[in-house]
Symmetry: C2
Subunit: 198 residues, 2 copies
């Protein structure tokens, strides 16, 4: 069975992909793009470095604009990110009988409630999986064992999270510097290959 | 790394074991026993049918007695089962750097809260995993694909859940028939081998 894993190039979504592939699913890694900035490129590179198929899921910029409006109104990203993630999952659910993401036990945003998961599965007649059974300690250790990982400050050219297009649009709508006020700089881990290939 | 998976012989804990083995852990399947009734035998058979190592975790009957007392006081099994499961996890955590069980997204009992999980991981300096990212639809499909499964009415000789020793003690303490009032009869699925071996 085909499985679509929402993919940012990070270790969480990479691990989810490996678990599903090990269980016999035909895994495709899927990175959403809202047509604002080609932030999917890093994820495509990560997918390729692991030998997975990669697809770009083209989504309407309306979804991104709604999320950015929510974020500007709230002054913090949580609700906008959750809204975006729900929309993206519903979109991906039209293409795959099983969709998954790298949401783990400790994640708070973006995260679906149990009711939202049931509604997604029932309304789209699909299965949804994530890493809610795995904590960060385990994911960090497995990631070190399985993957070559590059750690660096996030910027617009090295990251495929929702954050990148949101930042891009935030600065356009709110003026330069708006994004930095809402999303502080942070270190990201990007998967660049299998560890055993070193 | 060694991983101990709490094991009943059912499809959930079998799937958890397979996921961990696929990720490279040395998996041991662990069935607790409180010395009241040898209910671990079916789990040992299931483990053997899949080629996993199996261990019996001998626990004090005090834990079982506490749980049965809670269940008799409450008139329903939830709190007693949760109490028992927490005690068993803390016990197993002394033997393995990583412990896991087959608790899935839809399970309500026994289930640890996020705070209980953190407390278990921190106090015992271990990792704890479960199947909270997987729903019953996915587990049912994967189980059909991976395992030969036998469905039958649960009885004292074909099941290795906590339930069996609890029932045994409930009838001893509360009189014959007490257990049946609290645990209604139900169909169970027991793993009896790999599907591909058919």
């Amino acid at each position: 069975m085909k499985a679509g894993v929402l993919y940012s190039g990070g270790k969480d979504s990479s691990l989810m992909a490996v678990i599903l592939q090990n269980l016999g699913y035909q895994v495709e890694l899927v990175t959403v793009n809202f047509g604002m900035f080609p932030s999917w490129k890093q994820a495509a590179d990560s997918a390729s470095s692991l030998g997975f198929h990669h697809q770009i899921l083209e989504a309407s910029d309306k979804i991104l604009k709604q999320a950015v409006e929510m974020i500007l109104n709230d002054g913090y990203p949580n609700n906008g990110l959750n809204h975006l993630h729900r929309q993206v999952l519903h979109l991906a659910a039209s293409n795959y009988p099983l969709i998954a993401d790298g949401t783990r036990r400790d994640d708070r945003i973006p995260k679906l409630t149990l009711n939202e998961i049931r509604s997604l599965e029932d309304s789209k007649n699909i299965e949804y999986l994530n890493l809610a059974g795995f904590g960060h300690k385990t994911i960090d250790k497995l990631s070190k064992k399985l993957f070559k990982v590059k750690k660096e400050l996030t910027n617009i050219n090295n990251n495929s999270d929702y954050e990148i297009e949101i930042r891009y649009l935030l600065d356009q709508v709110g003026g330069d510097g708006t994004a930095s006020q809402i999303f502080p700089e942070h270190i990201q881990s990007r998967v660049i290959g299998w560890r055993e290939n070193e």
